[in-house]
């Protein structure tokens, strides 16, 4: 491992104190003169058409200042989502918004509005929509085929079998591909696992709801909001409002969680912006918990059938999967097509086939949620891997090793030439080996089946792999006459700390202390460069690249300035500790402050008056605005790439299952990883365990419950949809983690992201541990609550089939 000054060292992120003292201002903490408050009127039915709206009583109320309806919004093409609608497609979808002098008045006004609605046919379970004669969630179709809305019904399918909980695989699909020969692979297998599987839909539930406040000054819209990204959200929000990006100032310095639901989060931002325009006053739209539950996005559920062929030695010969995705009413989520990406990678099957279709439902809109498709893949497949391992007499960790991706392993859908893509690096076997030593896996395994009264111990292990980086963005920093390095970050401050962590790459390039750095983020008026979306666990890999590039550019310019002023060639100079100095003669050099002043004097490319041509126009704009403030480091990330960046985590869980009550207690969780070079060990631990906990939630508790007669959800509250709490986390000993710190070859520091990889490891390991405790506890569906467990133990007739959605 390289000898880094900052990389891999623990430190306190810059906003920590602000957060723990409450000084951090989130969107709803802002105020503006004459500010109004907005409230939403939401659809009471899953699908309906607004026949008429009578706002007269509301408008007559003192303090009511403006009402915004769908007719006031820029048009959106189907199957897109406008934000307000006259044809709501899910319960809780906003129909109109009222701005009033305070929230109580706005709420009372909403109650005084009469909306006459015609109920329309609806579907909350995708299978209901595929059934012959089944109603569709949308009037214009129930799916997309070849990017066109289409109406697909499964006429020649054995629906009685589906009703029994056996997915049939002869229905029409929208996506289909094969690599290798799956039929042959299954034929040559010594063991074929063939199961119907189900993964629930689940809301994102960030603690901070998607609140926004907007006002207009001199034709510009100022928007305080909650979003994961910044620079990328800016464009999306401007488009939504219907204005040019230069007419929008977006402020989002803090974000109380997004999990993919606020990558842009821009759908609802237009409401306060346009209401403010209409009312001529600032408008704050605070989103309540129940509103967030509906408009706050969700992970698509999956219903499917999986066949996996194993050789006697554990090697997977074939994977054949068929999935129906619960797509919500708008857009097109990609989770179901990501599932086979993950399975081709994690298990490296010798052949693989995927067939799938996403079906629209009248349930909340979907968006990526931490490891979209990846979590579902691990939750559904890892118990099947363990089942096969048991049948073949193989240690489940060994099973992971046997099929593990290594090096630049292949993955995903083949291109037109039949070639699959590859990853930049995979050290899964090494992660397994590390766990074997660090966690004493064999001792854990030995506890499997141990009885303590009515409680039985189970242990489980699961491999999770997911996206962890991209490339090609821009880095931008200035070293100013005050001697500080101002690092401009166009990514957002999602709460992971990566907005600071990646800034350390620039300081690493300058080998200068972190306290000499100032990170600029979260406000598009502060000249931020072109950046990746703060999503997909991309930031650590992508923006250590960009910031290292900017740092290297600044270092080169420092060296050139020093050589110009002090003689010699630039390569005779080194940069460290806030100075550029002659190698071997540390006293001969310039401080950053001196160099900054020289850069301004020199102008041109030194202070940003001349810019590289390959940077994005957004970065050019930002750099131009900063030109002349000091020495500018600005560069596009042109470092070599070696394939899709994927990190890997192996989760180990130990549970106790009470065989009389079905209660599951999570006793221990450990996770071993391949995440490249560790950038910030504290941030890494938080992601590994936070992701793991979110995985426990998916495995054990979180869900939606719908009454199908009405298409309405009855689990709107935390205590009914049950995300986990901190007391659901193992607390007898701290959860352990281990990282190999093995660099990815395609990042200047070897960094890879981790946030999403972590979740599946938690979910898969817990599900495998429960299965292990029960001996044969394979349920093939999540969440695995005690009613399912007790029903199995007591051999009671099941209340619903494996394929039943939203119970």
């Amino acid at each position: 491992m390289a000898d880094y000054k900052l990389i891999g060292k623990p430190y306190s992120i810059a906003d920590l104190v602000a957060k723990v003292t409450g000084r951090a201002k989130y969107a709803e903490d802002f105020r503006a003169d004459g500010m109004l408050f907005a409230k939403l009127l939401s659809s009471p039915m899953p699908h309906g058409r607004v026949r008429s709206i009578d706002t007269s009583a509301a408008e007559a109320m003192p303090g009511v200042e403006a009402i915004l309806t769908a007719d006031d919004l820029p048009p959106v093409d189907a199957p897109g989502e406008a934000g307000l609608t006259n044809e709501p497609m899910y319960e809780g979808e906003p129909i109109l918004a009222v701005a009033a002098v305070d929230e109580t008045t706005a709420a009372n006004a909403i109650e005084a509005i009469r909306v006459d609605m015609e109920p329309l046919p609806f579907a909350v379970d995708p299978l209901d929509s595929l059934r012959p004669g089944g109603s569709n969630a949308r009037l214009d179709g129930n799916t997309m085929v070849n990017r066109e809305l289409a109406n697909v019904k499964w006429d020649d399918v054995d629906w009685a079998a589906i009703d029994r909980g056996e997915m049939q695989t002869n229905g029409e699909v929208a996506e289909e591909w094969e690599v290798g020969d799956v039929e042959a692979g299954l034929a040559e297998a010594d063991l074929v696992i063939d199961e119907t599987v189900f993964h629930q839909s689940m809301g994102h539930q960030p603690l901070e709801s998607r609140t926004s406040m907007a006002y207009w000054q001199n034709g510009k819209c100022y928007l305080h909001t909650s979003t994961q990204s910044t620079q990328r959200t800016h464009g999306a929000a401007a488009r939504g409002i219907g204005i040019a990006p230069e007419d929008l100032v977006l402020v989002a310095e803090y974000c109380g969680g997004g999990f993919g639901s606020k990558i842009f989060g821009s759908i609802q931002m237009k409401i306060p912006a346009l209401l403010s325009q209409k009312a001529g006053k600032p408008v704050m739209m605070r989103i309540t918990r129940q509103e967030e539950h509906f408009i706050g996005r969700a992970r698509p559920g999956l219903q499917g059938r999986v066949k996996i062929g194993f050789r006697r030695d554990g090697r997977i010969t074939a994977m054949d999967m068929f999935f129906v995705q619960d797509g919500g009413p708008y857009g097109m989520s990609g989770d179901y097509v990501v599932v086979p990406d993950q399975s081709t990678l994690m298990y490296q099957p010798l052949s693989h086939r995927f067939r799938g279709i996403s079906v629209y439902t009248n349930t909340p809109p979907r968006s990526p949620q931490r490891a979209p498709g990846g979590l579902q893949a691990v939750s559904m497949f890892s118990p099947l891997m363990q089942k096969a391992a048991k049948e073949l007499g193989i240690d489940p960790l060994e099973m992971i090793r046997i099929n593990a991706p290594a090096g630049q392993a292949k993955l995903g859908r083949p291109d037109e030439n039949g070639e699959q893509g590859n990853v930049s690096s995979a050290f899964v076997v090494e992660a397994a080996d590390l766990a074997e030593q660090t966690f004493d896996w064999q001792a854990m395994r030995a506890r499997s089946g141990q009885r303590n009264g009515t409680r039985v111990t189970g242990v489980g292990v699961a491999l999770s792999s997911f996206n962890a980086g991209a490339w090609g963005m821009d880095g931008l920093l200035t070293i100013r006459p005050d001697g500080k390095v101002y690092i401009q970050q166009g990514i957002g401050n999602l709460g992971t700390g990566s907005v600071f962590d990646t800034g350390r790459a620039a300081m690493e390039a300058l080998k200068t202390d972190w306290d000499q750095a100032e990170v600029i983020w979260g406000d598009t008026s502060k000249h931020l460069p072109w950046s990746i979306v703060q999503a997909g666990s991309n930031t650590i890999h992508t923006h250590t690249r960009t910031n290292y590039a900017a740092g290297e550019d600044a270092r080169r310019k420092l060296q050139e300035i020093a050589a110009g002023d002090l003689g010699g060639s630039p390569d005779d100079y080194d940069v460290a500790d806030g100075r550029v100095f002659r190698r071997g003669a540390r006293s001969s050099g310039l401080s950053f402050a001196q160099a900054a002043r020289r850069a301004i004097e020199l102008g041109g490319r030194f202070d940003g008056h001349e810019l590289p041509e390959d940077i994005n126009a957004v970065t050019t704009g930002a750099a131009t605005a900063l030109a002349g403030l000091g020495l500018m480091g600005v560069a596009r990330d042109n470092y070599p790439t070696g394939g899709r960046v994927i990190s890997h985590a192996i989760g180990f869980a130990e549970v106790e299952v009470d065989v009389e009550t079905g209660a599951v207690v999570l006793k221990d969780y450990r996770v071993s990883t391949d995440v490249g070079t560790v950038i910030n060990p504290r941030g890494l631990a938080a992601q590994l365990h936070g992701g793991g906990i979110q995985g426990f939630s998916a495995a054990l508790a979180q869900k939606w419950v719908y009454d199908r007669r009405w298409g309405l959800q009855v689990s709107k509250r935390f205590y009914t949809n049950r995300p986990p709490t901190i007391l659901d986390v193992p607390h007898e000993q701290p959860m352990a983690w281990a990282a190999q710190d093995k660099p990815d070859p395609f990042n200047p520091m070897g960094a890879k992201g981790v946030g999403e990889t972590a979740e599946g490891a938690g979910s898969g390991a817990v599900l495998c541990a429960i299965a292990d405790a029960l001996g044969d506890g394979y349920f093939n569906r999540t969440p695995l609550q005690l009613d399912l467990i007790l029903t199995k133990i007591e051999q009671l007739p099941p209340a619903f089939s494996t394929l039943t959605a939203h119970v």
């Binding site: 009471p44 039915m45 609605m117 109920p119 009454d707 007669r709 009405w710 309405l712």
Partner: protein, 280 residues
């Protein structure tokens, strides 16, 4: 005062829930008002009527010797029906309305069992009355209306043709029976459907068997029939204990009326009593 209770279904659409319980109080007080009115009427008018009939009572013929001493007015089967029905009805009214006025107890099971009992007794009555009794004797016929008009005119002191005595059932009995029939069919018909809403042993509970609107109508009809029964029951009991009507009440207990009463109130040509019709 409200006539109906409105609510909304889960989609926020307004639906009819049931009658307003204001109507229960209205029905009760209507019954009481009627009774008070009738008491006043009885005090003022009955003595005059008695004098009038003494002077002008038309003898429609029929001699005392043709008539047995006791005439069967209600067979034992009919009486059994009446009292079973009465018991069921009282139980239904108590279980239905006491909780609404604040006297609370577990009522649902008694209510539906009473309802089933009432239904069975009514079915029995229909068959019995249709095939074993003089079916038409209880129904209002056009002649009854004409006659009623004459009686009213007569009571108002106007010139009328001679007023005939009644057949087996006078018009007020027929009217009462008609009201009970209408209200009874309403509560029984709706009540039976409402059994789908409770946990029946014989069928799965299905509140979605009918649409919201139809259910609302069911509850309204059930409620209207029920509160009508409050009025009907009050007035029925009132008449049953009026001194001049006690002989009728007795006949519902013992089955017969005396020859004198028969001849005094009924026209033997209209209520033909076979000679062997004595009982017991």
């Amino acid at each position: 005062m409200e006539l109906f209770q409105w609510g909304s279904n889960p989609w926020g659409q307004e639906t009819l829930v049931r009658i307003s319980w204001d109507l229960l109080y209205l029905a009760f007080w209507a019954g009481i008002a009627f009774i008070l009115f009738h008491i006043a009427y009885a005090v003022v008018w009955l003595p005059r009527l008695a004098r009038a009939s003494a002077s002008a009572g038309a003898d429609a013929g029929g001699s005392a010797t043709d008539v047995p001493a006791r005439i069967v007015r209600h067979t034992s089967a009919a009486r059994f029906f009446h009292w079973v029905m009465a018991a069921a009805m009282i139980a239904l009214l108590i279980t239905g309305f006491f909780p609404i006025v604040g006297i609370q107890f577990p009522w649902v099971t008694i209510h539906w069992i009473s309802g089933v009992l009432l239904t069975i007794s009514i079915l029995y009555h229909i068959v019995h009355a249709t095939f074993f009794l003089d079916f038409w004797s209880i129904w209002i016929l056009p002649a009854d209306l004409q006659e009623a008009w004459q009686r009213v005119r007569h009571q108002m002191g106007q010139e009328t043709p001679a007023i005939r005595k009644h057949g087996k059932y006078p018009l007020d009995h027929k009217l009462y029976h008609l009201a009970v029939t209408v209200a009874g069919l309403a509560v029984i018909g709706t009540g039976l459907v409402m059994m789908l809403r409770i946990d029946g042993a014989l069928w799965p509970r299905n509140p979605y068997f009918l649409s919201d609107a139809t259910w609302g109508l069911m509850y309204v009809l059930h409620g209207l029939g029920s509160v009508l029964f409050v009025t009907l029951t009050l007035t029925h009991i009132y008449f049953a204990i009026r001194p001049e009507k006690l002989w009728i009440t007795k006949s519902m207990i013992f089955g017969y009326v005396d020859r004198d009463r028969y001849l005094e109130h009924h026209d033997p040509q209209r209520w033909v009593v076979p000679r062997d019709s004595t009982e017991g």
